[in-house]
Point group: C2
Chain length 176, copies 2
DNA sequence: AAACCTCACTTGCATGATGCTAGTGACAAG
DNA sequence: CTTGTCACTAGCATCATGCAAGTGAGGTTT
């Protein structure tokens, strides 16, 4: 059957998944961050069927993640370059890579993020730029001005459950 | 045809996608972070068909993201609780949510992360905990000890392209 | 005690997205 | 004038997705 559309859902995660909720989209972005731009580069790197690649790239151009650009007139040739929206996905990619490294690399560290200049390894951390504090279990998703009733109920229920848990297990914090 | 397996690929992103490379897995994790644990809670919240939900949950239990736990004997009832590996996905979720909020919420901010105590809004930022510096275009993916030849070649090619770009556009930095 | 409800699923089948293979069109090189 | 590169398109097989309906163990209501 048709895959259920998440477009109508009022949730930024669901809306993101509508654009990158499949394997190939994310891998294409990964390769784009590695600097690939051309159809056959993606094809070789990913071992993806050409029709799948066409479908994904077309969709991602439509979604504003890639821009299709002609780089040669006489042999008509095209390349796919990241838009600002595509570039903006980089933190998600790095966080996901970090997760994969920690949990699915039994043979040891495959890749890591490093400073280009010094080569020093980076230890990724998500912080609140306002306070400088790392994100922890002391931070919670909150309804914004555009949230509808359904979303507010969902978040309110979540808040209540959190309070109950705190009463039951006062020191529990899975997210240090 | 069968979906191509990414298991054999030596890349932490591909390996992560093998576990969360579909829409429902990520949405299940989202709801788990909201505090949902029971089959029918997930079903109502996501409007997912029960067979799909069974398939996803079973897979995610196998992958070590959820643990299936009996919480009642007399009416035999089960719940699905996040494992440490599942909890560890939270930074990815928050970063993805942030991306969705910025790019796919034309009606305004739907949800935001806030400090539980003060209610102060959080401005998410990815930093290097070693240096305290934000992650920028000055950081690059580097081969770790367990990287194979193919991965090293990929990263070397990426490095060369970056250097060429710098010669062509010396001030370009898409990732401030 | 019959009827109805809750929770956690299972079964059966339709269909459309995924994916393999082969082919195409525009040019360039030898 | 044959071969090669690049960027695709076309045709078809099949498997994952998803709807609808049912199941079983027990509780609650009338």
């Amino acid at each position: 059957m048709k895959r259920t559309s998440l477009q109508t859902r009022q949730c930024p995660v669901a809306r993101s998944l509508e654009r990158v909720g499949d394997q190939w989209s994310v891998l294409l972005l990964r390769d784009a961050f590695y600097g690939l731009t051309r159809f056959d580069e993606f094809q070789k790197s990913l071992a993806i069927a050409p029709n799948m690649l066409t479908r994904r790239l077309t969709q991602m151009v439509e979604d504003g993640l890639f821009e299709r650009r002609q780089y040669s007139e006489k042999p008509p040739r095209f390349e796919y370059v990241l838009t600002p929206r595509g570039w903006d996905f980089r933190p998600v990619m790095l966080t996901l890579m970090n997760w994969g490294n920690r949990h699915f690399a039994p043979e040891g560290t495959i890749v890591y993020l490093a400073e280009t200049a010094s080569g020093a390894a980076v230890q990724l951390q998500l912080i609140d730029a306002n306070s400088g504090q790392p994100i922890s279990g002391q931070h919670a998703i909150t309804a914004g001005p555009a949230a509808n009733d359904r979303m507010r109920q969902r978040l309110e229920a979540s808040r209540l459950r959190r309070e109950q848990n705190l009463r039951q297990f006062p020191v529990q914090d899975h997210q240090p």
